[in-house]
Symmetry: C2
Subunit: 601 residues, 2 copies
């Protein structure tokens, strides 16, 4: 059936209308970022303003529009895609990360004249970001208006705010009642010498209230804000999300319920002299500036609720161990199918692999959905770090080279995230060497023992040193925090080349995913999730180590054993023994035999 | 000969007089820190105010005096010593680093009442420190006076400002003229969008002007300030330091000379609107506050002159290589003497070792002095990280256990700093295991290869992981920068468990000194100096590595070879081969034979 022609305004028309609105408002430059009012990683359609104006669909980028120019700033991941998508839009591409590219703020300063005004929509900027822009522009004699929000009238058929029902995650999964969590958060707020705190991060709110939702792709959260104080804890959420179950649960836990849009008014009424704890990078500027100047604002880089969320309790840990077994079973079934299909000369594309894995995920108990868009990259596609196969791009797996699979699922009892790079046939010695160097890094980090107080940046080199010695590297982080039936990326901890003051505490789940990407050739990544555990206490204090949560064989056909130390071989054998012991009881005889073979070194 | 009895006022009398001065000035609490107007590591006697009032001679500590209480805050290195030295002083000890110990600022806030005033001598506080104190106290409704300087009248026979002559360090050692360095500093000042900069760090000034002096123990620097701007470069220095040679040199290099005390007046007259670059942690508060409010102050964490100083040029590197050979020869001679003496049952004390090493240092070409007070600790003394042997404490070396020697010298062509831990006879298997773990860390860090942009905190784990795996650790930094005939501790780079944003650049000299300290038993440390060098350039960018500068055998009698990997054994053999090749031509036949034996694994 033919699609009807819908009259979608062209980029030029949109831009013209926006410029008229700018002129009316006395604004000479307008900045449109990628974020939403909750400063999340995935933006609901409602707030894809940058995509609406530019046509660029990447997950990171900023558009700037002046009277006669327009630019889009994005990074190397999107250079190819964005050039295609910007064609005919009248928007110039600015490639961030290149030394010659000015920051968009610098560019604006160079385009505008003293006394001019920059317009932003404060609601979709983190308070920290908006504040630093305001400071920067004021140093350049430029004004900033943070209430420039013309999009509702300019954007025809703008998507509505998501209105999916929320649901309660029972204590058998959360291990702790909402009431207890509120008490803990409040204790931390008081420790920070504050009386009240405002939360806008959806995963933190979902964790705190033991509710989940369906408003954001891959993240089982629901749009809401929250305020916690000695006097009351208020959840700001639309009535259409409040099933009877959720309403009763919140009531039982002593939570006051208010409408989603009531948050601003509530904040404005916080009495003078109240000490308000906020994390400026986790709250939007509109909320931030709604606070009375007579309040005492206590700023924190890491909100204590995020730290509490990141340390999983025993119930959550048991849940994630169970989710990992399910995930391992799904991966084993996929890998067996894939091997067979390749052996039999069947046509298998990257999309087929995605679909099959999702099918095996969905057959597992408590399945809710995928935890992110899977990355399945064969050959050169594996070298594109954020590759997403499309019907047009999807490669057919051949009987040589390697295939990178990075995927995960949301189960009620845990969130998973695994990467395996597998041989699909003949591979060169160079690939084996590279794979083994990545594996060495993976093993070194997994084997780390470290004192209490250690931060991720201190351990990061363990995952990279085998690569660095050969003049290789990977330019993404080594590890991110993972939620419990929550966001697959969470803070506060990370393992990266950059400094992050959050320490690695027992109970945290963090990924271990070194890789190597040779553009046009292949990509390698090996990812397991790690649980920080207590290792020992000595005269030198407490020492921690990692328990490996992920259960799936690491492809031994790609290993050059001569490059591994005896300790590294021992590690691999011990890991594979654990994988076999944990998964075998859940597999058929045939699957067990395959697993036996793939876990033998 | 008997010493005459001099009538030194007791601590009580000094305190009483100080309290009178506080009362007159309307001050309820007075803070006396350890630093001097140049915020250096070693304080000239003139500014040892904290020692004068308290009797405590340690290198770190802060005294606080209120109307009826007095406290001294210092860390665990000094707990034993300070208790002895504070006896009868009326000053209470506050042990920093313990969870129950309040910060001195918190303590002051708890002792004083709203509206009270805290007095400090702005000249001996870093601007950053004073500013944060002022901010803290203002949040507690306390005033701060930064001009409380009663010590000239209270302190009988207060030592004068050091008045030793300066001297010129010729370009054959510095490799670059003063004029060129000024040009480079100015270019960096301009890059920081500033017109002028003020320098107070003595080593930076000595480096910039190619002069040296004798005003501070172990640091070959002379008291001075400097200002660099497009218009002129001014060195503020007392006439009594200006030999004709120095005056002519400065004139030739286009430097304006002014009196040491003229700096404040000069700064006050910097015209309104001038952009002034300063590093608030490297300039005292009095100078900082002398800047007109109409100047635009550009603050930087790391002053660009310090970064320039830290990157050694080819001439400096050749110099340090030469200094290292001399240092190696001195160490070899000492170690041979020591072995013989122990074998022959002679009595050798820790002080004898110090003296002998200093003698061998002093016999080398271009010797100027020691670069710090040597640490020679036998047995349990080795576990005291900052141990200094005294005639009372000096232990006699016995034919069992281990001896730690940490020493260095100042030569015109370089500054050295080495630590070796040697066997003096029988040692237990436990000592060998611990020594080997320290050595493994030393080797892992020395073998590092890392991309441009790496900071010390990223590499630090390499030096610690072998210890961490056994639940051990050392609580000092792994590496500090080292000057070129300048301070043995310099910035900006370091290798530590703490974050420091300074990257490790080619040409920097950094120590590699992991250790292990078991209180009451023994201490182990192995220290070499490392030069950062370019290793390779690949598609992933520039990679750096370390060239080992220090030349002295590592005691193989203490190694448990079964704990070393084949690569680690290769490293040790290659290092020893280099030590032998470099030192043998400078040694006698007998010394060569000893070195051959001690460099065989």
């Amino acid at each position: 059936m033919l699609r009807k022609n819908i009259n979608i305004p062209s980029a030029e028309v949109k831009m013209e209308n926006l410029r008229k609105a700018m002129q009316l408002a006395g604004i000479q430059a307008c900045i449109i970022p990628t974020t939403d009012p909750h400063i999340g990683e995935y933006t609901p359609d409602r707030w894809k303003t940058r995509e609406w104006i530019s046509g660029f669909t990447g997950s990171a980028g900023t558009v700037v529009i002046t009277k006669d120019k327009a630019g889009l700033w994005t990074d190397s991941r999107y250079f190819l895609q964005v050039e295609e998508q910007l064609k005919g839009s009248g928007i110039d591409l600015f490639k961030t990360g290149l030394p010659e590219t000015p920051a968009f703020s610098e560019w604006i300063a160079s385009e505008l004249s003293a006394g001019d005004c920059v317009g932003i929509e404060g609601e979709v900027f983190a308070a920290s970001e908006a504040k630093s822009l305001i400071e920067f522009f004021s140093g350049k004699d430029l004004k900033v208006r943070t209430d420039f929000t013309p999009y509702d009238s300019l954007w025809e058929n703008r998507p509505a705010i998501p209105a999916n029902p929320a649901f309660v995650l029972p204590e058998r999964f959360t291990g702790k009642s909402c009431r207890e969590k509120i008490k803990e958060v409040l204790a931390e707020v008081n420790k920070n010498q504050a009386d009240i705190t405002v939360l806008a991060a959806l995963d933190t709110i979902a964790w705190l209230f033991n509710i989940r939702g369906n408003d954001v792709e891959y993240n089982p959260v629901c749009l809401s804000y929250a305020v916690v104080s000695e006097k009351e804890t208020v959840l700001f959420i639309s009535p259409n999300k409040l099933t009877q179950e959720v309403a009763e649960h919140l009531q039982q836990q002593g939570v006051v319920i208010a409408g989603y849009e009531k948050i601003t008014g509530y904040i404005q009424k916080i009495p003078a002299g109240t000490k308000v704890l906020i994390a400026p990078s986790k709250i939007n500027y509109r909320l931030y500036s709604a606070l009375s100047e007579k309040c005492v604002i206590k700023e924190t880089t890491v909100h204590p609720a995020d730290s509490l969320k990141s340390v999983k309790n025993e119930t959550e840990i048991e849940g994630i161990r169970n989710a990992m077994r399910k995930d391992g079973v799904a991966m084993v079934k996929l890998l067996i199918d894939l091997e067979k299909a390749i052996e039999n000369g069947e046509t298998v594309t990257e999309l087929d692999v995605e679909e099959k894995l999702q099918k095996y995920h969905s057959e597992q108990e408590f399945y809710f959905g995928e935890s992110f868009h899977p990355i399945v990259g064969y050959g050169a596609h594996g070298a594109i770090v954020h590759y997403e196969a499309t019907p047009e791009s999807a490669a057919t797996i051949q009987r040589d080279g390697i295939l990178l699979i990075d995927a995960g699922a949301q189960y009620f009892d845990g969130t998973t995230d695994i990467t395996r790079t597998i041989s699909t046939g003949e591979v060169s010695e160079t690939i084996k060497r590279d794979y083994t160097h990545v594996l060495k890094g993976h093993i070194q980090l997994a084997s780390a023992v470290f004192p209490a107080g250690t931060v991720g940046m201190q351990l990061d080199v363990l995952a990279r040193h085998a690569l660095w010695k050969g003049g290789q590297n990977f330019l993404h982080g080594t590890g991110h925090g993972v939620g419990c039936f929550l966001n697959v990326h969470e803070g506060p901890q990370s393992i990266r080349m950059n400094h992050n003051p959050a320490t690695l505490a027992p109970g945290m789940i963090t990924s271990n995913e070194p890789g190597l990407y040779l553009a046009g050739e292949y990509g390698i990544r090996i990812e397991n999730l790690l649980l920080t555990v207590k290792a020992k206490t000595t005269d030198f204090g407490d020492f921690y180590a990692f328990e490996i949560l992920t259960l799936c064989p690491i492809d031994t056909r790609l290993i050059d054993c001569s490059l591994l130390s005896p300790e590294e071989i021992d590690w691999l054998n011990a890991y594979h023994q654990k994988v076999y012991d944990q998964l075998a009881p859940l597999l058929s005889q045939e699957e067990k035999e395959w697993l036996k073979k793939r876990t033998d070194l």
